[in-house]
Symmetry: C2
């Protein structure tokens, strides 16, 4: 977690869900929209800032997949890896916005090319870390993710979103 | 918006929705759960920190209801007051969490009594500000809010949550 006064390079909002559905391809003239969905698990909304590079990714992945924010049926909080539960990654550049007057500015956001590269690395490393954790890998849990740059048309159903902010 | 290095007293996450439904009273032995719902509009998740007092409320209300984050059918961004759209306020103490090891600590959060008092003031001042803005008041739009201290069982449907973070 970035300390106050030190520039952050990534911002993440986490929400817990019992179901979520995300559009990964918008409808077109000759095809219907495509969606991915998860059941009980965690939604990771993320945004990278200027100055971010790939060194932050392992730290983010380690923190987000191991922090104990997911509730078991018995009411205990464990990591999403140990729940084990589904993961939905949602690129969310709007998280980089700063209020300016009555509008929002996104001057601190990573450029599109860098943002997409870091997003792809983040998804890949999450997949890798989950795949080698037997309780998760053997549970049939899934990781799904949105399409960078798209409108993230999303539906979620929660038993309390238990919203958290993490900055790196 | 708090500048880096200055202690913040409130944290807000905003999401845009086309529908949302929030439990305001859990089910009991002799009664069903009670819910509120909104249609197209904005969800305000909020959390107060130690050191917050009522002087921050007018500033928050003014900023949140006037910032241009809500999308018209024509794709233009306007304030929720001018959309005009529904508002759902969700108390979300988890937003005050800080990662400590693999757990979360909430030491910076306002105590329960102060948190509830500021939450109540926030809801009241939102209602007042919306009520005197004719385009909103005459549109039939509604403001709904969660019960402080409850589990915020929530369902949302979006055309892109367009998630933003604001700190005060």
């Amino acid at each position: 977690m970035a300390e106050s006064g030190i520039d952050i390079v990534a911002r993440v909002v986490l929400q817990q869900c019992v179901y979520a559905r995300l559009q990964v391809k918008p409808p077109s003239l000759d095809s219907e929209a495509e969606w991915v969905e998860i059941k009980k698990g965690m939604i990771i909304y993320l945004c990278f800032f200027k100055g971010a590079d790939s060194t932050v990714i392992p730290k983010m992945v380690n923190s987000l997949l191991n922090v104990k924010l997911s509730e078991t049926d018995a009411g205990k909080h464990v990591s999403i890896k140990d729940l084990p539960g589904d993961v939905l990654i949602v690129p969310q550049a709007t998280l980089g916005g700063k209020v300016k007057g009555r509008g929002m500015q996104y001057h601190s956001n990573a450029g599109k090319e860098l943002g997409m590269e870091l997003y792809t690395q983040f998804v890949t490393q999450c997949q890798q870390e989950l795949a080698v954790h037997a309780p998760w890998a053997e549970s049939g849990s899934v990781l799904r993710f949105g399409t960078y740059g798209n409108r993230q048309v999303l539906k979620i159903d929660t038993n309390g979103p238990y919203t958290h902010l993490l900055e790196f």
